[in-house]
Amino acid sequence: MQYYQPSSLSDAVERLQEADDAKIVAGGQSMMPLLRQGLISPDALVDISAVPDLDSVTVADGTVEIGALVTYTELLAADPCAELDLLRDSVAAIGDVPVRNAGTIGGGVSHADPAQDLPPALQCYDAAVVSFDGEETRRHDVTEFFLDYYLTELAPHEIVTGIEFEQPPARAGGAYASDTEAPGGWSTAGVAVLLVPDEDGETIADARLAYCAGAPVPQRVPREVEEHLIGETLDRETVDEVGRAVIDDLELIDDVGDDVEYRKHLFRVMTKRGITTALERSSAPPLAEAPQ
């Protein structure tokens, strides 16, 4: 196996194109377990950690740009996490402190593990995954970026350079609710919610929900389910209906030691928790006990 540490993006793409089966390594938190367990045996590792200009978080004209090499710990300390509850919740839910210290946002989305905590938030923000393939910069819609377990739209020599999204209005409220079997472990159910009230802060003008660990890819909840929440002052019954509707969208696998019915229950609870927390954090009226 060869090891390269290119100092520019174009050099990195060139190395990836030269090798038969090269893999990109950045923070190492996903790549090293795959290597150590013998699940992959690339002929070259292209370490992009020394590539410049991929490590900053900026907010300009309402657009948040996060460089691919930004670690989760760096992102947690950056301004967008102070302002955006959903982003902060999601990043804080990832692994544990040392994993967040080394793991990068670009590495996470490229690895495409369906149980990753951050992609649902990015899907609620309608984010773009920005990549470079040696010739052009491409912007992938993050709701279509993930194709299957560990598979994305990226070509083998294409490198994620960052994530971009429009900051939601201040009156919006967001939350990520998740459950893990063990502290620091993968989420067994994770639901991201973004509620945008109308300008008067009376009803919900837009609602976006997405989840991880419930299907081969992280995904947005069907629009018709999200629409249950739109145009209303939210009440407990509506929230419960949405919690049950989300279950119908899941593609859970009956596996050893994994009880599908229990997982569905978790998703229902996490959906309700996500919606009620997001509502509390928005400028919309508090949850009503009964339909208004």
């Binding site: 090293m32 150590r36 544990d96 040392p98």
Partner: protein, 162 residues
């Protein structure tokens, strides 16, 4: 563009050079090439935290860091925490805490817990129990519960105050 053959790190304050195959984790380089076995190996996949070390002052699981990525950086292992002077060795307050509160049983996870606890107290010298739990959830102890470990951190935190 560079291919790295020789890796040079500042290990516990001392410059060290070694060579390993690409993809070998920093942990294996520390244990096998540099012969510091305080950094433990157990799970291989970043679940147990027994290989915890500092890379340029940041707490990482050294089994998940390619050794090549440490080139040119400072690495501190559990062996580098105590102060060694002509008069003798002065343990780090966290090490003292684990001894005083008996924060261990078999002791295998202890170096990892010590490193993580040092990282916690560097950032937050007076953590609550909840903050300790949050910070130490990357470390597993399979012998017993975590109460004595949290007691050890609390002891060390008091030492930090003085």
């Amino acid at each position: 563009m560079s291919e790295i053959d020789e890796i040079t790190i500042e290990l516990n304050g001392e410059e060290r050079t070694f060579s390993v195959e690409p993809g070998v984790p920093l942990r294996d380089a520390l244990r096998d090439e540099l012969e510091l076995t305080g950094t433990k190996e157990a799970c291989e996949v970043g679940e147990c935290g027994s290989c915890m070390a500092f890379l340029d002052g940041t707490q990482v699981k050294s089994c998940l860091i390619p050794a090549h990525q440490a080139d040119g950086k400072e690495v501190t292992t559990v062996e580098g925490l105590a102060e060694r002077t002509a008069e003798g060795t002065e343990l780090h307050p966290v090490q003292e805490g684990f001894i005083e509160e008996f924060g261990m049983q078999c002791g295998y996870c202890t170096p990892g817990f010590v490193v993580s606890s040092v990282a916690l107290l560097e950032e937050n010298p007076d953590p609550s129990r909840e903050e300790m739990k949050q910070h130490l959830k990357g470390n597993l102890c399979r012998c017993t519960g975590y109460t004595k470990i949290f007691d050890a951190v609390e002891y060390a935190a008091e030492e930090y105050d003085d």
